[in-house]
Symmetry: C2
Subunit: 220 residues, 2 copies
């Protein structure tokens, strides 16, 4: 029983990690589509959303089957409960990448972003990819130090997000309201993407140490 449980839990953690990596890759391409007003790339990201949705359903069923057939207890049970919660986070990460791609599609053939903020979004995209990869590694290694690194990435993301808002609120902002609305929503998508990666790290830290660090979005 225990051998089968360990195999299936490793399989589930691998699937969750794969999805976090895919969400990071989707955010990477969505960011490129946004920066280059690249419609085919945006469409590609959007059409891959169905594949992520299938993997989510698969992960939910695998978690449920683990509970139903292996009846795990104590620490093993906590792992499965965490997996059920983490499925939601990777699902949101994927959906947020799709939202970015949809903004790129909606504004095509125009660029959604004024050139002045391209650098911010290029950097937020880079951090998002790194966090998707980080969440993947944390899920597969369960290393609390790697999980803590996600917080550093998240702080960098929050810094960029704050700078972006300073820019928007400045009298010098000369691009008008419509791009400001897009920039506001897009900034929120990247920030929430990062929050979900941090949330995955929190859940893993909780599994390993028994302590749950504070919620990222609750502070903002």
């Amino acid at each position: 029983m225990r051998v089968i449980y360990n195999e299936r839990m490793a399989d589930l953690a691998h699937l969750l990690g794969e999805m976090a990596g895919l969400a990071g890759s989707a955010m990477d391409r969505a960011t490129q589509a946004l920066l280059q007003a690249d419609l085919p790339l945006a469409e590609q990201v959007i059409s891959e959303g169905d594949r992520i949705a299938e993997m989510i359903a698969d992960a939910e069923e695998k978690s449920f089957a683990l509970l139903a057939t292996q009846a795990p207890v104590a620490g093993d049970l906590r792992q499965v409960v965490s997996a059920i919660q983490i499925v939601n986070d990777v699902n949101r990460m994927g959906t947020l990448a799709l939202h970015v791609a949809k903004v790129a599609r909606r504004r095509h053939p125009n660029h959604a972003l004024p050139e002045a903020v391209n650098g911010y979004f290029a950097e937020m995209g880079r951090i998002a990819v790194s966090m998707g990869q980080g969440a993947k590694e944390v899920l597969e290694s369960r290393d609390p130090e790697r999980a803590a690194q996600l917080n550093q990435d998240d702080e960098a993301m929050d810094d960029l997000h704050r700078h972006l808002f300073t820019l928007l609120m400045d009298r010098e902002w000369k691009y008008g309201v419509a791009p400001a609305v897009d920039v506001t929503l897009l900034g929120r998508y990247y920030e929430r993407f990062a929050d979900h990666a941090v949330e995955i790290g929190r859940r893993v830290i909780f599994l390993v140490t028994g302590e749950l660090p504070p919620d990222a979005d609750a502070e903002s």
Copy 2:
């Protein structure tokens, strides 16, 4: 065993319902604080966030204890798994109400909203309260028809949200960029609040019918 399970599950569903109702009430007062630039009311909502956080931790522990001590199977197991997922939704509803209150606090003594959009937010606040109450009733009654009504409220919310964006994107928008940024974020908070209430309805429909309706935010 089964009698104890039923009692504890009813207790957990009641706790989740209570939290959904509290999130609705928090959104109600946050909306009043926003519309009237009422700082004490905003502070009250924010300080009650700790109470919701405690209830969240309590609900997570109760779900875990149900799995650990009652070892539910089949439909009973699905109920507990759904409860674990629903905890996340009520948690987000509470956090989003807090975000609205924090915008009211940040802009005080000014009003965050230009008067022209007050009517939209009054109505979005009204729908949010109704959806918090609806989610509460659905959790306690498990009535799929009541759950489906949440979708109608959500459509009304989406309509208001779309109108709001039309207003923002219009050349006639004369309030400048800073209020547009606040309106954009606030609109997103109400929309997501509604999505989470719908998500609770979806989970309940799934429990009762075995079919999971499509995800609300994935469509937008």
